[in-house]
Symmetry: C2
Subunit: 250 residues, 2 copies
């Protein structure tokens, strides 16, 4: 049996407890929780974690998310079977969930204004709708990959002097974003209210919204970013549950 020591300065203490999908040389991909410098195999808590995806657990809903977090706190406060505890540098991390749809919102006024000046010089940097609703677009769900995956520089058309030119992007850009992971579905044709946020959103990931600005600048009007964005989006392999943020509420 193992008792996990959590150093006082660890970013992975009792308040955080992010979920991820990991494998080892001897263990097939499954869901684990990060505690200090270890990954604890959550199949000791529930068989719902014996699969390479958080989706089945997320589908169980908010009450179960609360319950399992309590079970994990109990587990790691005591002794854990040795076979369920892995040093974090001995595991391989994978995509933590299947992405059904992926929406990117233009949520920062500073960023939206900056991009407005970049792509529409000489006009108002913010469109009139920006102050009234969350402007967003759908990304390509199939290109969301876990951090660490090599990204291939995309090729595409760039605006040319007379005719467009084709080739590798010369203006590859990065954008740090926070991704919200929706855990439970809502029926088609119904609205989800702001008050339902806690019931629907399971957790958060860090996200790199890779952009090929030269390709984007040419192709994105009037239907929005497409090839200039949809070649890859990297996310952190660890999903911080929304419940973890309660401890940080001010």
């Amino acid at each position: 049996m193992t008792r996990i020591e959590i150093p006082g300065d660890s970013l992975f203490g009792y308040d955080n407890l992010p979920y991820g999908v990991f494998s080892t040389a001897r263990t097939s991909p499954r869901v684990g929780v990060r505690v200090a410098d270890t990954v604890v195999d959550l199949t000791v808590v529930d068989t719902v974690f014996a699969t390479a995806s958080l989706n089945p657990f997320m589908a169980q809903g908010h009450a179960r998310w609360v319950e399992v977090r309590e079970q994990i706190l109990d587990l790691i406060a005591g002794e854990i079977p040795d076979a369920a505890v892995h040093p974090v540098d001995e595991v391989t991390m994978h995509m933590p969930f299947e992405v059904a749809d992926y929406v990117d919102f233009y949520a920062s006024e500073h960023h939206a204004s900056n991009l407005g000046r970049l792509f529409r010089p000489g006009s108002e940097p913010l469109m009139p709708n920006w102050k009234h609703l969350p402007v967003g677009y759908h990304g390509r769900a199939g290109t969301v990959v876990p951090s660490g995956t090599d990204i291939v520089r995309p090729t595409g058309q760039r605006k040319g002097e007379d005719v467009p030119t084709f080739g590798e992007s010369r203006r590859l850009d990065i954008e740090a974003e926070v991704g919200f992971v929706v855990g439970t579905p809502s029926p088609l044709g119904t609205s989800v209210g702001v008050d339902d946020f806690d019931e629907r959103v399971f957790g958060l990931v860090l996200l790199n919204d890779w952009s090929a600005r030269d390709i984007q600048a040419w192709e994105y009007v009037p239907l929005g970013p497409f090839l200039g964005k949809s070649f890859a989006t990297s996310i952190s392999p660890w999903v911080v549950p929304l419940l973890a943020l309660e401890a940080a509420r001010v």
Copy 2:
């Protein structure tokens, strides 16, 4: 045993043979082929069809698509077990496949110009990129439904006199489109050439790209159509294989 008679004027003769997912009062959802006014249960050809989705069959690739079409032609030219033949008005049709990602291309110059005049009066109806590349945007994969599914009129913001107003769309619109169903994946970071079209594209559906024009007109700049489009997209439950079009080649 049943022998299917195909009237000379049937749209569902030997050249067409579309695939769909059907169920009856006594049969769980599975893949069938439409022949004249009947649906033939394809589990008599292969167990890959004993599921409520074309995805496993499509994943088998082009060579297998050709082979199975030959097997179906042999089957329906002869006698078929009675239990595998259902009158089309006694079956319920379902979504024929799972949608991983959904892209809508702005492929008709007439339509693109028309929409340009509608949404950007006083400026050039076509953007300069339109003649050089296929302009497209990602839709919401989770809202693609089979024809016949009731569509709920969406609510959202509309541009107002001083401030936006919120309510049901007053300008619900329809657009008839042809949908291409990609059957086999390509590795992330690779390009698919035009010559690979036959190997990747399994078939075609008819598609209704529902649009709430008042919502779209307000929210779609600069990131493209989002809430104004992503509430529903209807497709025909029958997928016409690309191979069926060979007979119509001129």
